[in-house]
Amino acid sequence: MQWFNVILQGVLIGGLYAMFAAGLSLIFGVMRLVNIAHGDLIVLAAYISLMVVQSLDVDPLTSLVFVVPAMAAIGYLLQRGLLNRTLGDDLLPPLLVTFGLSIIIQNGLLELFTADSRRLQAGPIEVETFQLAPGVWIGALPLIQFAVAVAVIAGLQGLFYRTALGRAFRATSDDQPVAQLMGLDTRHVFAMAMALSLAVIAIAGVFLAVRTNFDPAIGPARLIFGFEAVIIGGLGSMWGTLAGGIILGVAQAVGAQVDPGWQLLAGHLVFLAILAVRPQGLFPKVSG
């Protein structure tokens, strides 16, 4: 039973990892950009939530009302103002510019908030648990987070395949010049994709802030978790990303149970194993 609980915890945190991953793979799918600052943006969202919570005296979940639009706006401006300039055939500029961005965000947050560890309080819901079966307890908050993660991924799927914006994303990703011929302003399409990615990051960031202690330096690890979830699950598939996140979460949970120092290592080793044995991921989408 103890192992069942461990795995359950792993599954639930896998939802959070899947959200980290969803924003990353969305951007890669639409414009072949990998945002090295992705993890730091998650942390930025957590700090924005902190500011909102402190100044308006609301709870973290309510702060989403402000954080999500704020991050989306930041994403739009960031893409339109800076990152659109890096797109092209050369691989170095987007990589190095987003790496520079990562350093800027980390150190900017360090200057503004110091290296102190923070945590957001969600209130009584944090300690609510209920019993699924004899000996199996599940926390209300992790369950809600998982449900939201699934909803976000379902929402992204729906958006991509059933809306005009999703069509615009897919068309631009397929063939940028022809998309322009069809009247799509690709600068705007890319900026909308980044705005959407940052909106997802906002939700993930607030959930992270409630769940664990955060400080300016934890961004890169979140990037790595998101990246590992994408690779394990398989490029191009949102639901695969969810599966990847869950597998990563479970691997870490099992590793932590064996020895607390092994938590992160277990996740990395599972990732490397998948890379060795099935590099296309477990559920890759056949392109086309």
């Binding site: 005009a164 069509r167 615009a168 068309a171 397929d174 022809v178 011929l181 009247g183």
Partner: protein
């Protein structure tokens, strides 16, 4: 029919890097006209269309659409003004279904007669395959879809870049029989073709390009095979 030109291209030069593809090329299209641009491979026909559609920008010269200068405007702007290109090689979006490809064409919501229903009426083969991914279609069907996609933007000027390329003659004939219906709705056409016979049959006016220059132009009926060959090959 108004006599001033819908499209007036005046002495444009176009370059790919250091390579000059067009030398002082001028063409004009009146409303309701079908203009054919013929010429050998590399003569500059596609370059001309790309320059009109906004995918390339001429280094000198002017392009006037509906009396307004448009040289240098981006492609998505040109679509908004009513210029749609059916690109060489079809270039449908492979991740999208047939219907989604058509819908993308229409996402600018320009007013006009062309709707999804009308396009399906024009090309029934597309209606039967509306939910298939675009790559699943045959060459001829893809060409129909590419034309339909451009029509969905309700353009006033339709640019067709080598729509016969890689298609069987009977399929090409099929597509060309629909062109008069398109023109009847008030569209003007520029068709770039290597298939001279089809081009001459469909067009009112013909331009022949040779190594980036206009070697010959005139009403389609008034040109003999000899004058065309001479202009085409530069003999």
């Amino acid at each position: 029919m108004p006599d001033e030109a819908l499209l007036d291209v005046k002495a444009i030069d176009a370059f790919y890097g250091d390579f000059q593809a067009l030398f002082s090329v001028s063409i004009s299209v009146r409303t309701g006209q079908v203009v054919a641009v013929i010429g050998a491979n590399g003569a500059g026909k596609s370059t001309l269309l790309k320059s009109i559609a906004g995918l390339m920008h001429p280094h000198s010269g002017e392009i006037l659409f509906d009396g307004k200068p448009t040289a240098g405007l981006p492609a998505f702007d040109m679509l908004g003004r009513g210029v749609a290109l059916v690109p060489e090689g079809r270039r449908l979006f492979p991740s999208l279904t047939v219907e989604e490809n058509l819908l993308i064409g229409g996402q600018m919501r320009r007013p006009g007669p062309w709707t999804l229903a009308r396009v399906y009426e024009l090309f029934p083969a597309l209606a039967e395959r509306r939910n298939l991914p675009a790559p699943a279609l045959s060459g001829g069907q893809q060409q129909m879809a590419a034309i339909g996609r451009a029509l969905m933007a309700n353009p006033r000027l339709l640019l067709c870049d080598e729509i016969s390329l890689g298609l069987a003659p009977v399929v090409v004939r099929d597509i060309y029989t629909q062109l008069p219906r398109i023109v009847a709705e008030g569209l003007s056409l520029i068709i770039v073709e290597q298939d001279i016979v089809q081009a001459l049959r469909a067009a009112n006016h013909v331009y022949c390009l040779q190594e980036g220059r206009v070697a010959l132009h005139g009403p389609a009926g008034g040109l003999t095979r000899e004058t065309i060959s001479a202009a085409y090959f530069g003999a």
